[in-house]
Symmetry: C2
Subunit: 270 residues, 2 copies
């Protein structure tokens, strides 16, 4: 079962930490990232790591694509180009393989979901975020997340989410849509809940801390512990369940039926 | 007693909030900033507000210059230009006035200190920070601060400070130097303490919260309260004392004897 997840966003928004938190394993063990924030050098090229993960009985060949942090350089025009080209190259590879191999037998290395990390400024999207997401949404399922959500108080967070969603709609950014599950009341309610939580406010951590005698993953501040898996602290668990349990198949289907189809049509149209 | 402080940094780093926290008064009462994070429109031009502040018996004509948040736009090349030109225009104004008026009688609207806000990424300075600070240090006393320091655990913060100071030295960025007070042991110790704390890790807030029955200024999270005035939470108090009590005169002297002199010489040299 192949699943490819891509993380995109400015350097320093906790992308590597979140990936490790999502899959409970140091996906970058082969790299110089050691989970304590010391990273030499920064990701300067698109890096893929594939691991075998077992989630609820399902065996996943999980590929994570970490992209060069942008925002470091002074001129960010076209900073999305290397990334959209990478997504295209994976479609191209699949297209070529399809004409030669039975589809069921082949690996699917296409990007099934892209988590776009938004800096928790409290104001709104940056111009570069709007342009970047617009480009990405044409090619891949984009789910916006608010990075380092422990920077925001609950009130600031809900206001920030509203502002972002307004800007996403105003700018016609077509992010991933949770399916309309009309037949099933329970599923429809679950999907509505997910729709209302977007963008997911995430906190990531690879550190285990003790809180009231219990071991939790979190960030230890002098004023308390921001817990990764605590639903009253952030949406991490919501995102994780959605990605790994309930919506992985839909993300793959939409990639195949919509994004890949668009690529094929554009390719054939020449 | 005239004192002009300028704040510079990307949009959304808490500059307006910190200014309000520093001087305990809503310096932007005339603007649309209402302290709750809703700001329409963003500062698109350099804005000066002057208030009369009384601090420990000293009457200050305090001018705060808030600069356009950069980092929103895709291309940030030369984003420092409007700001360095503004600093120059104030030197120019003073130079022209000096030739006509007795110095003691005139207003001093030159910029005495610039707080440069660094985003708490945990990695290091961005390229734009290095270039911006380099330009600024030629003209004004620059004190780097780590914005929204409640984003960093104590360990991440001390590591981040070391990284930043290394990068500042490696790039020859001449930030404001605390004086060498050789005569006075106590003063020398105080100055060493300040030198070791740079860049100041600040948290700002205009909200009052109750902690253990006491009213404090801080940010209320589900996991605790990050307190502005608590020295084990951030360096706010250290910065404030240094600016308003102990080093205001030195900041003015260095502006007059070094930065303004450099401006005059360059002007005369043609
Ligand atoms: N406040 C906060 N800091 C985080 C979070 N996740 C990671 N960090 C810290 O942010 C810094 C950069 O994290 P990293 O994962 O390397 O970011 P990346 O450059 O986007 O991959 C490190 O010091 C992390 O410990 C989070 O959820 N909240
Ligand atoms: N985490 C954190 N957030 C802050 C801090 N200071 C301000 N904020 C929040 O950051 C957002 C932007 O603040 P603002 O002062 O308008 O930033 P500016 O654009 O740099 O002037 C608002 O939601 C503030 O409440 C801080 O010290 N820590």
């Amino acid at each position: 079962f192949d699943f490819t997840l891509m993380v995109v966003g400015q350097s320093g928004l906790g992308k590597s930490t979140l990936i490790n938190s999502l899959f409970m394993s140091d996906i970058y063990e082969d790299s110089t990232y050691n989970g304590s924030g010391i990273r030499m050098p920064k990701t300067t090229q698109i890096r893929s790591s594939t691991v075998h993960v077992q989630e609820g009985g399902v065996h996943l060949e999980l590929t994570v694509i970490d992209t060069p942090g942008f925002g470091d350089v002074v001129d960010n025009s076209q900073c999305w180009k290397p990334i959209t080209e990478h997504v295209n190259s994976l479609f191209e590879e699949f297209l070529n393989a399809e004409s030669r191999v039975i589809r069921e037998a082949m690996e699917d290395r296409r990007v099934h979901v892209c988590l776009y990390f938004i800096a928790p400024t409290g104001h709104g999207l940056k111009q570069v975020d709007i342009e970047f997401m617009k480009e990405l949404c044409e090619k891949v399922n984009v789910i916006p997340v608010i990075a380092k959500a422990d920077t925001l108080t609950p009130e600031e967070c809900s206001r920030f989410k509203k502002t972002i969603m307004n800007e996403i709609h105003e700018n016609g950014i077509k992010i991933y849509q949770f399916p309309d599950s009309e037949g099933d009341e329970e599923e429809a309610a679950a999907n509505k809940k997910l729709r209302d939580a977007i963008p997911f406010a995430v906190v990531g951590s690879n550190t285990v801390v003790e809180v009231s005698g219990k071991k939790v993953r979190g960030r230890l501040y002098p004023w308390g512990v921001a817990e990764v898996d605590n639903l009253s602290h952030c949406d991490f668990t919501t995102l994780r369940n959605m990605l790994v349990r309930t919506h992985m198949q839909d993300l793959k289907d939409v990639t195949d039926n919509v994004h890949y189809e668009n690529y094929r049509c554009q390719k054939l149209a020449g």
